[in-house]
Subunit: 194 residues, 4 copies
DNA sequence: AATGAATGAGTATTCATTCAT
DNA sequence: TATGAATGAATACTCATTCAT
């Protein structure tokens, strides 16, 4: 059993999400995270190399949910358009159901220093690669415009989703994010379809 | 003559952009900005309330350029679609011509704490309101889809632009950003037109 | 059978010498000593009260070799001057043959806090008392200057030996220490003889 | 006026000597030194690069006194033997008159890590070089034994002085150190003279 | 207006020691 | 006996801001 599988590892990661969401990135001291996790400060360092390592782990662990979900969607035998719709909906849904996580990924974690953000982008890349697969398959089977610049299309999809979620978080999630998913899907589809 | 019109005010704002772009947000100490501006540390505080105030002023001053340009575009007697195209092009163009500023607005300033970013969003709102005007006029005159959710449309436009610029900055601006403007315009138009 | 006679006691003391010599006093953590000794961290505390106790034990155990040797020399039926010569030679010889030990006693153990060093001096006293016996017997039988201040004489003998060994250790023991013994002996004898 | 000449520099160095002597090396926190010096913690760092830098400066500043005194003695037109006597006496005298300093140089500073001690040894070398000059001139003019190993002789002189002072400090300086100077001188001279 | 020396609050990390198994 | 996971106290250094000159 490796460290990641031990219960305290998950305890600490989850505690970090809560502490960062509630206190903000710059006020998320290691001692606060330890207290929230119900362990001693020193225990943190049995599971994580340093504070930076906690933050990256938060992103890795949580982003893993998105990637898994997306892989599952990709494996289905449905149209690319439908896959895109499911991706948007499940992405919105996961964050709408965990407001703490939404705050952390959309606002707080972006305050980390450039080095951490570069490593976070590495984790993100996996997600974007899967997104590209949907776009490519849709272009190949004629659902999406074959002449589309794939990078621009992906930037539109991801940029729109990101901006939509961030706006929702910044407005204190006072409206229903998941409800917006089909509308976003329709808007993006119109831009991309043949 | 108010403080903003005094030469040192501008000196300090410009120094801040350079220092942040070259050293990163977290390494942009007040003393470095003072040195770059050629003034004493204490002098900064004759023109700015605190460090936070410098950062917001950077955004205000520079965002002003974008707003002025956009107002000029809005005043022209051309189609909404053309206005959108010009907005994208001039936005990309201004940042492509000032890489320091692009780094600061797309990467570094986002590392500031949530409070500063909320205030920066306040500054940004002016720009977004003008953007909305283009969208509304386009919807009214039938150029754009009348059934479109205006907020979603704006999030798509802004999100796509933002993501495109950020990707360009993160890739060390090794390709031509301005060249992408018409492509982005076309993609967005397809999504929004009637 | 007391603790000191158990095999693990010696294992741990020897491990401490190696770890301190190779890593330096300040990098000789209990966990490293435990690992080197092939026991668990907690096991250390079955044999030693605390870390300080290990360090003093190192000195006690090793200093024992010097004391035994010196007792043996004292028991011989030879002149005080010869005893002094043998003491110097065997002292130099023991350290020259265990460079780890030399590093530990001359450099590393002196970095310990004042309290430990006071206790180490207690251990050292036994050795100095034997040294005094040589000096006193030499003064009594007319070999050494009867008017000599015994304490000063001992400080000269010990100070010279110590300084000579420390210089040798600090120069990475690149010359032969034992070879210096007769020279040191001659120099000291000249200072002390009638 | 460089930093070393500013009053606060000396204030801090002197405060460090007192704090280290009274609390021990490992309990001499920067904040304690600052408090003793009557400055803020941060002020320390306007004059010293880091804590290590304070400690080395203590030794440099104070050792400077010994070196100056020794240079003055060397410049006199007297016999080498007399120079040696004056050196011992003034060395003992300076430390006897500043017990804090004696504690720091003989006990506390030796607890510093190897890197600091290497740098301290560099400072010490200057003193030893001057000491060598006395020995060499004495050997050349026939006062001292021409066949003497110069390094051993220096180790005897320095080792005896060091051991004598350390013993005095460890015995809580309850006897008169300066009074021992002529005796130490006589003992050493006997060992070295022709 | 301008200076810049001085301030002092705030925090990640290590490691000797314990104790349930 | 032996283990090793868990503990938690303790500290150097940075840098935004002030204020006497």
């Amino acid at each position: 059993m490796v460290k990641k599988d031990k219960p305290k590892y998950k305890q600490i990661v989850d505690a970090a999400v809560i502490v960062i969401a509630e206190n903000g990135y710059h006020q998320a001291q290691v001692s606060k995270i330890a207290k929230q996790a119900g362990v001693a400060d020193g225990t943190i360092y049995l599971y994580f190399k340093n504070k930076e390592d906690i933050l990256i782990s938060v992103f890795q662990e949580k982003m893993g949910m998105f990637v898994s979900k997306l892989e599952e969607i990709l494996s289905r035998d449905i149209k690319a358009s439908e896959k895109l719709g499911l991706m948007i909906e499940s992405h919105f849904s996961l964050l709408a159901n965990d407001v703490h996580l939404a705050i952390v990924t959309q606002l707080e974690l972006r305050q980390s220093n450039t080095e951490i953000r570069v490593r976070i982008n590495g984790v993100l890349r996996e997600y974007l690669i899967l997104m590209d697969k949907i776009l490519v398959s849709g272009m190949e089977n004629g659902e999406f415009d074959k002449t589309m610049d794939i990078r621009l299309a992906r930037q539109m999809v991801f940029g729109t989703m990101d901006e939509t979620i961030t706006t929702w978080v910044m407005n204190d999630h006072k409206y229903d994010l998941v409800e917006l998913a089909p509308k976003v899907h329709r808007l993006l589809m119109k831009g991309m379809r043949t």
